[in-house]
Amino acid sequence: MKIKFTALASLAVLAVSTLMLGSCTADADSPGLEYMPDMYRSPAIEAYVDYGEVRGRENMAMKLRMSALVPPAGTVPYYGTDSSLVQLMLPYFRKATISFRETHGLYGADLTASDDYALAVADMNPLKLTAENSEALLKSGKELYTAMCQHCHGEKGDGNGPMVVSGAYAGVPNYTERAALSDGQIFYSIYYGKNAMGSHASLLNKKEIWTLVHYVRKFQNASYGTFDANGLSAAVVADTTMKSKK
């Protein structure tokens, strides 16, 4: 009789202790037990880590400080020694209009009173499409477009992206019909935003935007970026034949 008693008691103790151990990790807000927790918050700076406490010492100045910071004003990223790439990556010389502060939240940006969007008509795409690079350039353009634009503007640029189809978003124009837009204006709109669209300067660098400008041209003209045997742009040839017909 007594044997049974002790066995029951020890079972109860075991059950309680395992449950207590288990309850340490049952909370979804707890990441579980750590082995040597000092290694998670070492003095080596990592992105998205709260450095409010390093090696048991509290640092109020760092506590809950934003880890994603804006680069210091006036700094230019280093892009190596290829002068054409460096030239391409230099800060965009067109400025956003003053009203973009309120409409697009560009408070920190260098703004202008003039309408730079209208002036951007004159800007040429510095990435020149040639018979050699066109395939690779349009391929990377497609990748960028799929990740960055397609959900609103649609796979074919007709403004019927999955967001518009699902009814979450409305008013995306059909750009396949707007061949009159200049390259410079497309760039300006992607960089600073236009109407409902926000600025994409933080998401895409200048090379990527110019690549996208090439890619979206293909929606308006299927022969854009294709070249004949002589290395002449088929699109340009088509243009001139059309003009001669007129």
Binding site: E34, M148, N174
Partner: protein, 451 residues
């Protein structure tokens, strides 16, 4: 001759008018979508104000007759002629485009079409219900979770009560035993303590006690070792977040690519959390269908300093959102997202799971959940542990597609080519299992990940 012509002319005119009436609606629809929809919506303010019954609004506001048509053709002329139009021009700093090509009938067709559009409350009810049920599921899940965690305390409390009862009962038994012994006039062992009593008892049954204690000791050691395995395992970690962000709606229903918001994933070590301006690219217009959604989205507005009233404007007063990091790797491990995503071609879902179905807050998926996803390499070790990493490095083929395809000039194609040309024996050894894995190219070297 002339009469005949006149007859023809009138019948043609009649046809045109009839066709005109029946097609007005379609014409208004087409024109609205082509000319107006990038700024205006029938029932919602956007870049431009909502257009539902805007003619009535202008008349009520005291606008001059025909002023609205003038406004569409060129808002500046209208603003100069009509004081009401002047007030309308201050609605937003964004100036309206001029449409001099639109005739009065065409503008009427557009506005007739707009006035015929039903309030989105009716049309959007299904969608709202959909969203609500999704939220409900999330709430339910949270509820059960809370119950689970509170269950632990209930069990502990019950255990304590149970132990107290056992002790009390055994105490009573002991007292009864002593009392009965005293009654019988026997020598009582009252002087004996519990410990002494236990010792005599244990000696009496030493065989059983010895075996039982051996089992208990082994059991404790085994469970201790098993519990050590859970140290540093973060599977199921699901920290609460400041905003109840549903990945399922964003990347599932609305088809937004992971790389749009986590846009540094292709360029940098960390995938990056989107800055609020990225949220605002859509949420400037999307402000939620249900009150719950609106409450969550208004937190983004606070963070971005966006005042959604009227045309909406940025105030410039921003406030950061403090997200909680979910996928935390131990320090001294170098993990580079761009290396895995761009060079290795690993899909996000291999490590993070199927985000198109994640309604609740993001959690570290268990390896069993990850294995269920189609296209994932099946692994056995817990997610985000070293065993899990090297297991994948041993499995993952470094290039997919035909190796013989020399046209592809990626980094790994070049490695294949060099192996084929320089060390065919080694290459064929690698290819014994039909693929060259990451580990065969040094993916198991300590210094690949530890620095």
């Amino acid at each position: 001759m002339f009469r005949k012509f006149r007859n023809w002319y009138f019948s043609a005119l009649a046809i045109v008018i009839a066709a005109g009436i029946s097609t007005t609606y379609a014409q208004g629809d087409a024109l609205f979508k082509a000319k107006c929809s990038s700024c205006h919506q029938p029932h919602k303010n956007g870049t431009g104000p909502k257009l539902f019954q805007v003619r009535q609004k202008w008349t009520d506001g005291g606008a001059k007759d025909g002023s609205i048509y003038q406004w569409v053709n060129n808002w500046q002329t209208a603003a100069a002629n009509d004081p009401y139009a002047q007030t309308v021009s201050t609605w937003s700093p964004t100036a309206m485009q001029a449409f001099p090509e639109l005739k009065k009938e065409e503008i009427d067709a557009i506005l007739d079409w707009v006035d015929a559009q039903p309030e989105p409350g009716a049309a959007g009810a299904a969608g709202a219900a959909d969203g609500a049920s999704g939220d409900g599921a999330a709430m339910d899940a949270m509820g059960t979770e809370e119950e689970e965690s509170s269950n632990g305390w209930v069990w502990i409390l019950m255990g304590v009560v149970f132990a107290t009862i056992i002790m009390a009962v055994s105490g009573v038994r002991r007292q009864l035993k002593i009392a009965s012994a005293e009654d019988a006039g026997e020598d009582t062992d009252e002087g004996k303590t519990y410990l002494e009593e236990f010792k005599t008892w244990a000696w009496k049954y030493r065989k059983y006690v010895g075996m039982a204690s051996l089992v208990i000791v082994i059991g404790v050691i085994v469970s201790l070792f098993l519990s050590l395995y859970s140290i540093g395992v973060v599977e199921g970690y699901q920290p609460s977040q400041p905003i109840a962000f549903p990945h399922a709606i964003h990347t599932g229903t609305n088809g937004i690519d992971c790389k749009y918001c986590h846009n540094s994933v292709t360029k940098s070590k960390s995938a990056g959390l989107p800055t609020v301006n990225v949220c605002m690219n859509c949420h400037k217009q999307v402000n939620g269908r249900t009150p719950e959604q609106q409450a969550q989205i208004s937190k983004i507005y606070d963070a971005a300093g966006w005042n959604p009233e009227g045309a909406g404007k940025y105030t410039g007063k921003v406030k950061p959102i403090i997200w909680n990091k979910v996928h935390v790797l131990p320090d001294h491990v170098y993990f580079n997202h761009s290396q895995h995503v761009v060079v290795g071609g690993v899909d996000c879902k291999q490590c993070h799971g199927d985000m198109t179905k994640q309604v609740e807050a993001v959690k570290v998926q268990t390896v069993a959940e990850l294995n269920k996803i189609e296209g994932n390499i099946p692994l056995t070790k817990p997610t985000l542990t070293m065993g899990w990493c090297i297991e994948c490095h041993g499995e993952k083929e470094i290039s997919t597609g035909s190796i013989a395809d020399t046209k592809k000039d990626g980094y790994y194609q070049e490695i294949h080519r060099r192996l084929l040309n320089n060390d065919k024996k080694l290459y064929s050894k690698y290819l014994k299992d039909g693929k060259v894995t990451v580990s065969e190219l040094g993916g198991w070297e300590c210094a690949k990940c530890h620095y």
